[in-house]
């Protein structure tokens, strides 16, 4: 088992955000206008940590997700969605952001 420390910050004028890590819902905290969404746990080495964000906001709202993930102190990342993940909310196809981080 590897000790997983995942931290992320969601920036932008979004209305709200929902998130989960490997299916476990996470509670966002807000400070200075930034949503912080973190996860810690123990997962088997070689598995994938899947973090899902659902963003709610008006069409045209820009967002940025900055994240860091470590497994037993070794930095990991999603090669497809490298931090920061930037985008614009366009309802219908761009309100779910999914990170797949191989541990």
């Amino acid at each position: 088992m590897a000790k997983i420390i995942f931290t992320s910050k969601v920036k932008g004028e979004i209305t709200t955000v929902y998130a989960s890590a490997n299916g476990e819902p996470l509670a966002p905290k807000i400070s200075s206008g930034v949503y912080s969404i973190d996860y810690t746990g123990n997962l088997p080495a070689g598995t994938v940590l899947q973090v899902i964000y659902k963003l709610v906001g008006m069409n045209g709202t820009d967002y940025s997700i900055e994240y860091k993930c470590s497994a037993d102190g070794v930095q990991k990342s999603d090669p497809v969605n490298v931090s920061p993940v930037n985008g614009t909310i366009k309802t219908g196809d761009n309100i779910i952001v999914m990170l797949n981080i191989k541990l």
Binding site: G12, E13, I14, T15, T16, Y18, A19, S20, G23, P25, L26, A27, P28, I30, S31, S32, G33, Y35, I52, Y53, K54, V56, G57, M58, N59, G60, T61, D62, T88, I89, K90, T91, G92, I95, I96
Partner: protein, 333 residues
């Protein structure tokens, strides 16, 4: 026609440090209750040459504490509550007077509001409505001119104290296919108001005539060389019930950076027949943040049926053009 042009240096600062907006403000300093910014605290300033005011607004919105929600299985309804305070200083005669003369009729408004927001999820598509309950108090020092009174009673200062209680509802929905945004709303407000703004204005200067030995006369203005503005006519205070509907369209083909607004309203009172008004406006929105207005222009036609019996022509009587701009100061915890 009442028209105003805003030259504040604030405009050069508008591109920085803007955060969530609680209103798309109109000419009277009220409007759509967007409140779609993040949960947390907001402090903002708002300049409005429609009602000649500078407003400081504080807003706090709370999510349900420790809310853990599966993003792939969001509940149909999710509620946030909030509250806010705002204070507004205004010149009853025009905000430009703040910079040219101290001789204006000052006013102050303080108000508070409670908000309830419901984020609705329908098959993965989110929309949200906001309900606002607001109350406020207004005090103004008005200058009135009575030309038919005795000389020492022609100029009077009148203290006006008003109040307002309002309920407004707005519904925001991002349009899935077109990627536009639409906001619809309705509001009802009970207000104690006056007709000072509709009275004609005169500039009063105290002058002194000095005549020398050759008979040459000279007019001297001892003080307040710009004079003071006074309202002339039948001044009235009365209660009104204002009903308003509003709609805003934020199209994607303009990158969601412009909001087109329309907001007809009716004022009911005991002393006038119903007063019909219509307003249209354009709000310019921050890039990548369509909840944040950085400025707007409004054209309003008020009392279109001349219920208040003005002798002015239609355009002069009804047309008001105003500008508004914002400088949001900070977001803290």
């Amino acid at each position: 026609m009442k028209s105003s042009v805003l030259f504040f240096t604030f405009f050069v600062l508008l591109s920085i440090n803007l955060v969530g907006q609680d209103y798309f403000e109109d000419i009277e300093g009220s409007g759509f209750s967007v409140l779609s910014g993040k949960n947390g605290t907001m402090l903002s300033t708002r300049l409005n040459v429609g009602d000649n005011s500078i407003k400081l607004n504080f807003y706090q919105q709370y999510p349900q504490k420790g809310r853990k929600i599966d993003p792939l299985n969001v509940p149909k309804n999710l509620y946030d509550i909030g509250w806010g305070l705002s204070v507004k200083g205004k010149s009853e005669d025009g905000i430009g007077l703040l910079f040219t003369s101290g001789a204006f009729a000052p006013g102050f408004n303080g108000s508070g509001y409670l908000s309830l927001r419901d984020i609705i999820d329908t098959k993965g598509q989110s929309s949200w409505w906001i309900l606002l309950l607001s109350g406020g108090y207004t005090i103004s020092n008005l200058n009135l001119y009575h030309p038919d009174a005795a000389f020492n009673k022609q100029l009077t200062d009148t203290i006006f104290q008003g109040y307002n209680l309002g309920l407004s509802w707005s519904y925001l929905f991002p349009v899935n296919k077109s990627r536009d945004n639409i906001i619809v709303g309705a509001s009802a407000g009970f207000n104690r108001v006056n007709n000072y703004g509709n009275l004609s204005k005169v500039v009063i200067k105290d002058t002194k005539t000095i005549t020398d030995t050759t008979g040459t006369a000279r007019d001297v203005t001892p003080s307040k060389h710009n004079g003071a503005i006074y309202a002339k006519g039948a001044y009235k205070e009365y209660n009104t019930l204002k009903l308003r509907v509003s709609m805003a369209y934020i199209p994607s083909f303009l990158n969601n950076r412009v909001a087109f607004m329309v907001y007809p309203s009716i004022n009911y009172s005991m002393i006038f027949a119903p007063v019909y008004n219509t307003g249209i406006g354009i709000q310019f929105l921050k890039e990548g943040a369509p909840t944040v207005s950085i400025g707007g222009i409004f054209v309003e036609f008020n009392d279109m049926t001349n219920a208040q019996g003005s002798t002015d022509g239609f355009v002069k009587r009804t047309l008001t053009i105003g500008l508004t701009g914002s400088l949001n100061l900070l977001v803290s915890k």
